[in-house]
Amino acid sequence: MNVTTADDTTSTGQAGPLTGTTDRGTWREFFVEHAIKAAGISMIAIVGLIFFFLLREGLPTLGEVPLGALLGTRWYPIEELYGLIPLVIGSLLVTAGSVLIAVPLGLTTAIYLSEIAPQWQRDILKPLIEVLAGIPSIVLGFLGWVALAPLIQSLGAPTGLTAFTGSLVLAYMALPTIISISEDALYAVPKEYRDGALAIGATQWQAIRMVVLRAASPGLVTAVMLGIGRAIGETMAVMMVTGNAANMPAFGPAILFEPVRTMTATIAAEMGEVSQGSVHYHTLFLIGILLFIITFAINSLAGRLIGGQEQRRKRGQI
């Protein structure tokens, strides 16, 4: 590697300088260590670049379409109507529906896994949930399209392609996120808490409800938030099963059973057909900016909650 070091070791150890001039070996280390540091810091640059390119293509909209028009209730690009409200409502409806399904299911499954299930069941269930996380969204979307939608229609809905169908598919896509993060949070609750509650005569359910869930609540909130983030950004499955109607839904008891179109699906469906640089093109990027900001806010908040936990974890740095 270098002359000085080789001298150190071939000597009897009684001589040889402790000091060395900068040689090839240390130059290489210097270079590699800076490359490592650059790799870390590049993550900030990447997020910055993503936002920059979204702004670059999306901001011109604000000069082309008056703000009032963007806040309109009709999305009809052929007639130059770029009201984003129905798309935002579509996203909110589908996401809210999926949260209503996924949060109770996900939290209870996490409770089951960490508090109730015997080891052998855990050994089967956890890989299965990993499998669910691994199924590509397009495959779930495909099944929603060919199998689930007809099923829902046969139950009496005018069409099977509704916000609810999307919510159902989305719920299962958000479940692995919700389950694994809330299970971690439950797992992190010290055993003494449970034992303490049981020792003063609480039933297992009381111990879970009053002690474990309370202690794990920041982690559970994080789980739900990341689940929402996952749901709001999902594209393909939602595009296939929600019917793609960019109308204002009729507010009423059956609101979840109407076709809608989400922000993500709008970008996916229309970007292929717009001409580059057109108002329509810019507006689709503006929707991208909105999505970026929404998920950035959700994840920064959730990251903060997780970050607090991580601080407490002992770090094994050199």
Binding site: E33, G40, T108, I116, P136, L143, W145, V146, T264, T295
Partner: protein, 281 residues
């Protein structure tokens, strides 16, 4: 209602909910296998599509997905491992590190369609790479970074501190210690993260829409600057855009995609348990 009754009801309800989560997963997989298995034969896997995709095979789509997965690996793995080593071994607890961590958390949360927009704006148009394998690989590679970084960092942190101390006290430099002790011992975890990240990239559709995917390309890509078909997008196309598409071909395509992605997931978990068992400390 007594406390004991409440306990019983609660446990039953929780168990039932867990069942509601798990059963559909099994159902989905079994259903796709049953419906799709009939379509799969040698021609289906190796032939080009013909008759407007209603006949022939899906070979270009399979090949495209394989190429894109490799491209994703080349883009993301060196950068991700570098970032993981930085966070685990070099980063001090200061504002810069917190900013890097915040950036990674947010990269993980950006919707894939937004990555697609970014790829379109940055690689396809700004760098003038066109709709191409290279633009798609770059976009997918960046999308895959957070998964690989966080699993790798965890694997690196799990290497016991005493190995670092021993290596350093024998006169190894910090970088030599990382290279000869930390990374080899963290390798299983890093591999798991890499494969998981790649399996996600292989199944990704929205990112491909504007960066790489060809609707119908009855030939193989000629260079990195060529478009390619890819399995997930192909499934979308034949399911929703092509009238009179035989259902078996659709299910067959879904099955192949599922097999590729899930076998990657399986490989990842085998690597993890295998090497964990062989480890001696």
């Amino acid at each position: 209602m007594t406390r004991q009754q409440a306990q019983k009801i609660a446990v039953s309800a929780i168990t039932a909910a867990a069942g509601l989560v798990v059963l559909p997963i099994v159902l989905v997989i079994v259903y796709i296998i049953v419906m799709g298995a009939g379509a799969i034969n040698w021609t289906f896997l190796t032939a080009l599509p013909s008759e407007g995709m209603t006949e022939g095979g899906i070979m270009p789509a399979i090949l495209g997905t394989v190429i894109l997965t490799f491209g994703t690996a080349i883009v993301s793995i060196p950068l991700a491992i570098g970032a993981a080593v930085y966070l685990a071994e070099y980063a001090q607890d200061n504002w810069l590190t917190r900013a890097v961590r915040l950036a990674i958390v947010n990269l993980a949360g950006i919707p894939s369609i937004v990555y697609g927009l970014f790829g379109l704006g940055a690689f396809v148009l700004f760098l003038k790479l066109g709709t191409s394998i290279i633009a798609g690989s770059l976009t997918l590679g960046i999308m895959t970074l957070p998964v690989v970084i966080s699993t790798s960092e965890e694997a690196i942190l799990a290497v016991p501190q005493r190995f670092r101390m021993v290596s350093l006290s024998l006169g190894a430099t910090k970088l030599q210690t990382i290279r000869h002790q930390v990374l080899p011992q963290a390798l299983p975890g890093i591999l798991t993260g890499m494969i998981l990240g790649l399996s996600r990239a292989a199944g990704e559709t929205a990112t491909l829409l504007f960066t790489v995917a060809a609707f119908y390309l009855p030939r193989l890509p000629q260079s990195l600057f060529d478009q390619t078909m890819a399995l997930p997008y192909h499934l979308y196309v034949i399911a929703t855009q092509v009238p009179n598409m035989p259902l078996t071909i659709q299910y067959g395509t879904a099955l192949i995609l599922l097999l590729i992605v899930l076998s990657l997931t399986l490989v990842a978990s085998v690597v993890r348990t295998r090497v964990r068992r062989r480890r001696e400390w």
